[in-house]
């Protein structure tokens, strides 16, 4: 059962991409792979047209289709909190989960290098394991930080507090996650919505604004 979720306030996001960079640094993601992205779209019509930024990441769905289709059980929901993860030692890189994820939040690592300046410099954060070539990688809600009672890197970095990480239900609170807010009231008070609800995946990332 899912324990954690995220609420993203679209009115607060200014598209600075700090979360994208924080995530890349936290996970040493390979070139071209972003576990979180800021999408853009135009809303309204002239003269009231505007640009809206839509941060996207893995929705850590309760009924995750990526977990269903994985032939090796490499994709799984962590039993204690429902965070959807990939066991890279079991992943064969067949791509079935990529095709099953409605949010396109799974990425095939073809080249694990994180090169910069024509690969002259390879940035690697020493204490973080990066996804090896040939596997599927995705947002893991920074479970290594969550286990220590810290919010995911994207949440901690966001300068406008557009992202809120917490418990999907106050009733699930335990001693280890007393630092995290409960999101259930935020969701109900703000008429929060999720992306592609018709896919029936019961996502745990909500949007307001």
């Amino acid at each position: 059962m899912s324990k954690y979720g995220m609420v993203i306030d679209l009115d607060r996001c200014n598209g600075c991409n700090a979360c994208v960079i924080a995530c890349k640094v936290e996970h040493n993601t390979a070139n071209g792979i972003h576990f979180t992205k800021i999408l853009e779209r135009e809303v309204g019509t002239y003269p009231n047209a505007n640009r809206q930024f839509v941060p996207v990441l893995c929705n850590h769905c309760e009924d995750a289709p990526c977990v269903e289709v994985c032939p090796t059980k490499a994709s799984y929901s962590r039993e204690k909190d429902g965070i959807v993860l990939v066991d890279w030692d079991k992943c064969i890189g067949c791509g079935a989960c990529v095709l099953a994820c409605p949010y396109d939040q799974r990425f095939q690592v073809k080249d694990e290098s994180t090169g910069f300046l024509g690969s002259l410099v390879d940035f690697i954060k020493a204490d973080t394991k990066r996804a090896p070539s040939g596997v599927i990688a995705k947002c893991d809600f920074c479970y290594h930080r969550v286990d220590e009672g810290r919010a995911p890197a994207c949440v901690e970095t966001c300068p406008t507090d557009a992202r809120m990480f917490g418990l999907v239900d106050e009733a699930l609170r335990t001693e280890t996650d007393k630092e995290f807010p409960a999101l259930d009231r935020v969701v109900s008070r703000n008429n929060a919505f999720s992306l592609l609800p018709d896919k029936n995946t019961r996502p745990n990332v909500y949007y307001i604004g």
């Binding site: 999408l39 839509v54 064969i92 067949c94 791509g95 409605p102 396109d104 029936n200």
Partner: protein
């Protein structure tokens, strides 16, 4: 279809494009289409010649299936771990397909072995159980790619109950034509049915495939935005593949050759088989290429 839907708005999966827009999948393509078809062809050849009792051709069928497995391995990120794909039989169609291919290869190998090493009498004693099991496993191998695609909620063009039927009809049409060509070549039907009945059956399957394909596209033209875009990708952006490969080569040529089988030679029928097999791959490739994700918002 609404005019606002334009395939130029589709972005390619993997592109560094950060707009909210429908996205075309690029994970599975020509290689996967070829592998799925080759699996069906291997199974079809084996079963057709199993009924005719021709050992060399049965070995060829198993060889084609084994080749498909090898090609499939090359598509994996970690081929050495491929055996792990049998772990999620309860929920994953790829897992189920992997198990069934392994079962078919093993039982098929034993079946062929019983011809090469006669004397035990096991095959005769167990008949028709091995033949029935091989036929059922073969049917499953024809079906599973369709189910693997149909169970993906992300891509509306695939995510419907017609997909497995279309996949099965595609495989049966190819296998049936191989059977007709074998019958015409050997001048004896490998199954307990006359050649005319085989021809009528094959024409029926080809007609059903044409009907299913037309229905599929008609249904998808009225489905959600992503499915409508998929139809446009298939019919407009890939019109050569669709009209040339799928319709003319894969359907019209085989139908004409089978319908006039009494006046054409066996070699012409084998030309029809070749055309059908090209159409088989083209149909799978077209359906894969047309896979479009919904825009997230």
């Amino acid at each position: 279809m609404t005019d606002s839907l334009d395939t130029r708005s589709i972005i390619e999966q993997g592109q560094l494009n950060f707009t909210v827009a429908p996205k075309r999948q690029t994970i599975w393509g020509g290689r996967e289409a070829f592998v799925f078809s080759l699996e069906g062809i291997g199974v079809g050849v084996f079963l057709a010649f199993m009924l005719a009792g021709q050992v060399t051709a049965m070995i060829t069928g198993l060889g084609l299936l084994a080749l498909a497995v090898l090609l499939l391995l090359s598509h994996l990120g970690h081929p050495s771990r491929a055996w792990m794909a049998i772990r999620n039989v309860r929920r994953s169609w790829i897992s189920r397909g992997t198990v069934m291919i392994g079962f078919f290869l093993a039982l098929g190998g034993l079946y062929v072995g019983s011809f090469l090493l006669p004397g035990s009498g096991a095959r005769e004693a167990l008949a028709p159980l091995p033949e029935v099991l091989l036929a059922l496993a073969g049917l499953f191998i024809l079906l599973y790619p369709g189910f693997a695609m149909a169970t993906s909620p992300a891509i509306p063009f695939w995510n419907n109950g017609l997909m497995p039927i279309l996949s099965l009809a595609n495989g049966l049409a190819s296998g049936g034509l191989i059977l007709v060509a074998v019958a015409a070549t050997t001048k004896a039907s490998p199954v307990p049915a006359p050649l005319d009945t085989l021809v009528a059956g094959e024409l029926l399957v080809l007609a059903c495939l044409t009907l299913f394909l037309a229905s599929y596209i008609a249904v998808m033209r009225r489905a959600g935005a992503a499915a409508q875009l998929s139809v446009r990708v298939l019919l407009n952006d890939n019109r050569g593949l669709f009209w040339g490969g799928i319709v003319v080569v894969g359907l019209v040529v085989p139908i004409v050759l089978v319908a006039t089988n009494l006046s054409v030679s066996a070699s012409d029928l084998w030309f029809g088989v070749a055309a059908r097999l090209v159409g088989d791959v083209a149909l799978r490739h077209g359906l894969l290429k047309a896979g479009v994700y919904d825009a997230v918002l």
